[in-house]
Amino acid sequence: MVELKIIKATLGYNHSPVLREIDLEVFPGELVGLIGPNGCGKSTVIKALSHVINLISGRITVGGQDITSIPRRKLACLVGVVPQLPLLPSTFTAFEIVLMGRNPHLGLFQSEGPRDRSLAYEAMEKTATVSLANRHVNELSGGEIQSLLIARVLVQETQAILLDEPTANLDIGRQIDILDLMRRLCTENKITALAALHDLNLASQYCDRLVLINKGRVHAEGVPSEVITNANVKEVYGAENCVYTHPVNGLPTILVSPRRAKSNKD
């Protein structure tokens, strides 16, 4: 079990900050949703938490330890990432891509053994990608690749999982499958999960807590009903009166309708 903490951190690229002095905590067993408009810095948070970019100021701890003091291979055993539609080398098969998730667990002179291969197979079963195993990744659709990347992070056997728009390219059935799977991992295996999500309805339905980011800072934070409110959605997204209550479970739900032209209204 590992908890992720961002403490008064300023994040960005080449010293131009995207997020200023933000605080964020994710605890074991929790699925936290990171929401906010395009370009607000959701991916930046994920890159900082996987130490792909350095902080401009502040600090990040993983399981209480400063992220800069954790060797890369050890960090990759603690924190796994599902990136947002990355380029994959076309010459590798789906199975080989999934198997690469074992990399942090293998020493320089080791190769994947039967256990690694059966872990990869299990992960592909869980993500319904077994039938793709021998296909080259350039033949796969965006949604299939997304599912493969989730299989890869399962194979990595990390205690924390960061997901960057994990449902962006999936049909609605797969969206539910993948988020159900994440939900189950959090509850049963006490995985620490942080997911950047665009779809506010999925965020509301699946996340224990939401963090709404806007204009370089945390705009709101809390359980979905505290964060997805008409006021917040209007201020951050400029969409008015679109928050309703889910008829079955009472969680906030977005229903959109076209913006009415002002001349019609008057």
């Binding site: 990432v81 098969t93 690469m100």
Partner: protein, 358 residues
């Protein structure tokens, strides 16, 4: 555990082609031994292949064959032809594995061992060696390889320093810096060639590569570089696979990308520099051999690298055999042969296989 035993079976079938690649390694290994013997037996004095084999086998530890050959034959094989064959093999190994490594590091199919300034630096060093007064030439293997090696390392180091951005080494910057410095050095090389007068012929021959002056002393210098460099690169084969994703994903999978880039660049550059210093800037091998291997056996670096090593050695020994026999006693520069023989074969492979290869 019973469950996981059940799923090991299907998972075992999820990696097709593994056996084909293992047979490929074995077959190429045997072929390499045969080609070494064949190349040693062919020349101005023809020595039967069986005799060549006996002479070579006699030199192995624990093997003792009663001589059916003359001392002269043994000298021709062991002192004249074998060092040349072995050096050709080593250079083939060096160029093929360095090419495959650069292609993997840069994730660029056009990368070759000369991409970041090794060849132009070596050429400039060698030409300076040619233009120095004859009195300066050191006895032994001479000043030219030493200057070529120094030139190769200096130009690569310059490219490296120019391409650094903070603590990182972005591969795009590295390629661009390499191309730019290469062009600069290349123009100096061109100017020196046209103003070199009667030394022009020797310089151009050197640039196109030749094994004609190979001796054991040169093998002894090149061998450690190629052996250590190749071993280092082979150790990182699985990591190079992971680096085919992209740097960000590789880091998130636990690869210390910057450190590994440095190690692999150093290894590939040193073996390339050591090779070209003695035999000149032989083109085409470093880019084509890894691609040919990819076309036949796939892109997994754990097989691609060792298969390229064997294929590179075989290809270089065969092309050198052609270079010294086709117009015998005259020699054709090896760079001419590598392209004439290699290009059509490569194009054939390319047409046969329509799948993505890189």
């Amino acid at each position: 555990m019973v469950e996981s035993h059940l799923i090991v079976q299907p998972a075992g079938n999820l990696m097709p082609g593994r056996r084909v690649r293992l047979y490929g390694l074995l077959g190429l290994g045997v072929l390499l031994v045969l080609i070494i013997a064949l190349a040693a037996s062919i020349g101005s004095v023809a020595i039967p292949l069986t005799t060549t084999f006996s002479i070579l086998a006699d030199k192995l530890p624990f093997v003792d064959i009663s001589p059916t050959w003359t001392n002269a034959m043994a000298t021709v094989i062991l002192e004249i032809r074998l060092p040349r064959v072995i050096l050709a093999g080593l250079v083939g190994i060096a160029l093929a594995i360095a090419g495959a490594t650069y292609q993997g590091l840069f994730r660029n199919p056009l990368a070759d061992p000369y991409l970041i300034g090794v060849a132009q630096g070596a050429s400039l060093g060698a030409i300076i060696g040619f233009l120095l007064p004859a009195a300066w030439q050191v006895p032994g293997f001479g000043l030219i390889p030493l200057l070529a090696f120094t030139g190769a390392l200096l130009s690569t180091a310059t490219v490296y320093l120019l391409a650094r951005v903070g603590k990182t080494l972005p591969v795009t910057t590295l390629i661009l810096a390499g191309v730019a410095l290469g062009a600069l050095l290349g123009s100096v090389v061109s100017y020196l060639i046209i103003s070199s007068g009667d030394k022009m012929h020797g310089i151009i021959f050197w640039l196109m590569g030749s094994f004609s002056l190979s001796q054991w002393s040169e093998v002894r210098i090149v061998l450690p570089y190629v052996a250590v460099g190749t071993a280092v690169i082979l150790i990182f084969a699985r990591i190079i696979n992971v680096m085919q994703l992209d740097e960000e994903q590789a880091q998130q999978l636990g690869v210390n990308v910057e450190r590994i880039k440095l190690i692999l660049l150093a290894a590939a550059t040193l073996i390339t520099a050591a090779s070209v210093s003695f035999v000149g800037t032989i083109g085409f091998v470093g880019i084509i051999i890894p691609h040919a291997v990819r076309l036949i056996w796939g892109a997994d670096y754990r097989f691609l690298l060792p298969l390229s090593v064997l294929t590179g050695a075989i290809f270089m020994i065969l092309t050198d055999l052609l270079a010294r026999t086709v117009l015998s006693p005259a020699e054709i520069p090896i760079g001419v042969i590598t392209a004439i023989c290699g290009a059509p074969f490569f194009l054939y492979l390319l047409r046969r296989r329509k799948k993505a290869i890189f």
